[in-house]
């Protein structure tokens, strides 16, 4: 049976993987590798670091597979692990004296990776650079909530589960993150309306 077309739920796949079915775990990785890498990328600003952290997240989840119980969404657990590893990475990077991200370098890296995007206007490109740089200037606390909402399209309830906080906290923290981002964008010379 092709698991990709089987319509199995995440917890069905976890159950199969717990019984030793590696294909089931591979399908879970396929389902979430994109969103988890995007999250880590926007948090660290480095595609290479993002891949490593995301990879470590899946491996850790696999290491605890036998003990996983369907109390909440599988994605909540996975993103919780990825979030913790990312924050650890950022803390270590700070201790080593390395910036949380190197906004300009990071931005060039991302842009070069995107085959020059000939169809995009210079204006659009300029806005992307500015927004990426502004995101990199946010605190990890603000960045993570913004990324979970805007990049990973999570609703408030899912974000609250990943961050282990209340929905009301998500509401206020997300608003502060947006306010900070707006301030950064305007401070960098951007225009929003």
């Amino acid at each position: 049976m092709d698991l990709r077309e089987s319509g199995m739920s995440d917890w069905d796949l976890v159950s199969c993987a717990q019984a030793g079915d590696m294909d089931a775990f591979a399908e879970l990785v396929r389902r979430y590798q994109g969103p988890v890498v995007q999250f880590c990328y926007r948090m660290t600003g480095s595609a290479q670091d993002a891949e490593e952290i995301a990879q470590d997240s899946f491996v850790r989840v696999y290491g605890h597979l036998r003990r996983l119980k369907p109390r909440a969404k599988f994605s909540t657990f996975l993103f919780g692990v990825a979030r913790n590893l990312t924050l650890n990475f950022l803390r270590d990077a700070k201790r080593r004296g390395r910036g949380v991200t190197e906004p300009l370098d990071t931005v060039s890296y991302a842009v070069q990776d995107d085959a020059m995007r000939p169809d995009r206007s210079a204006r659009r490109h300029e806005i992307e650079l500015l927004v990426e740089r502004a995101i990199a200037l946010l605190s990890p606390e603000h960045r993570e909530i913004l990324v979970l909402r805007e990049v990973n399209s999570m609703d408030y309830e899912a974000i609250a589960a990943v961050l282990s906080c209340r929905k009301g906290t998500v509401k206020s923290r997300l608003a502060r993150a947006r306010e900070q981002l707006r301030t950064q964008v305007l401070g960098l010379g951007g225009e929003l309306p």
Partner: protein, 212 residues
């Protein structure tokens, strides 16, 4: 006319989580100031969503699966309950010591964290102070001591878990244990027997002041 909406209210509105979206929509039709802020937030949200995504390389899956196979071996020789018992005893002792030392500490006011408030309400100000100190150290803040004794007396197991989950010590323990440095996630990853053992250890400490 209603007062202007705050960024928080407009942020909630654009996420479709406002309690009374019709009222916000109506206000936006008649208030240029709020409409402008709303448009700015919408544009900001659109810009972030439109950022280019990074491609996941095909070898990502291969690497994960290869490392997962290696992790399986480590899983079989995990930290174990004996190790957890030892680490828990050591950690609780450290927390109790910190709380006791803090009995005489003084400093500027800080806002209590939720777990700290919960512990204060149970009368366990010693542990609450210990947590306050740990949290203040982690965030670089100072704190105010209001006195107390360094023990878990009076705190329920759930309250102790809530308190422990906020300490850097537990993050270190969890990392050593190859688990997540988040207590909720770690509890979620435990089997029923393991979780029962863990809760029993905490209960034992609450009753006897030590783990045997």
């Amino acid at each position: 006319m209603k007062r202007h909406y705050s960024i928080e209210e407009l942020s909630t509105y654009i996420d479709g989580e406002a309690e009374e979206p019709e009222q916000v929509a109506e206000h936006l039709r008649s208030c240029a100031s709020c409409a402008r802020l709303h448009e700015e937030l919408l544009n900001l949200s659109g810009h972030v969503r439109a950022l280019p995504s990074v491609e996941v390389r095909p070898e990502f899956l291969t690497r994960v699966m290869a490392n997962a196979g290696a992790a399986r071996g480590r899983q079989r020789s995990g930290f174990g309950l004996a190790g957890l018992r030892l680490a828990l005893a050591a950690g609780l002792a450290v927390l109790a010591l910190v709380a006791a030392v803090l009995y005489t500490a003084r400093g500027p006011m800080r806002t209590p964290a939720p777990a700290e408030s919960a512990l204060r309400q149970t009368g366990d100000t010693g542990l609450a102070q210990g947590l306050a100190k740990v949290q203040a150290t982690e965030t670089g803040e100072t704190f105010e001591d209001t006195g107390g004794q360094g023990s878990f007396d009076g705190a329920s197991v759930d309250e102790m878990i809530a308190g422990l989950s906020e300490t850097e010590w537990f993050g270190t323990l969890a990392a050593d244990w190859e688990a997540e440095d988040d207590l909720d996630a770690m509890l979620n990853s435990m089997g029923e027997d393991e979780e029962a053992d863990f809760r029993n250890l905490l209960r034992e400490y609450a009753e006897k002041g030590r783990v045997t």
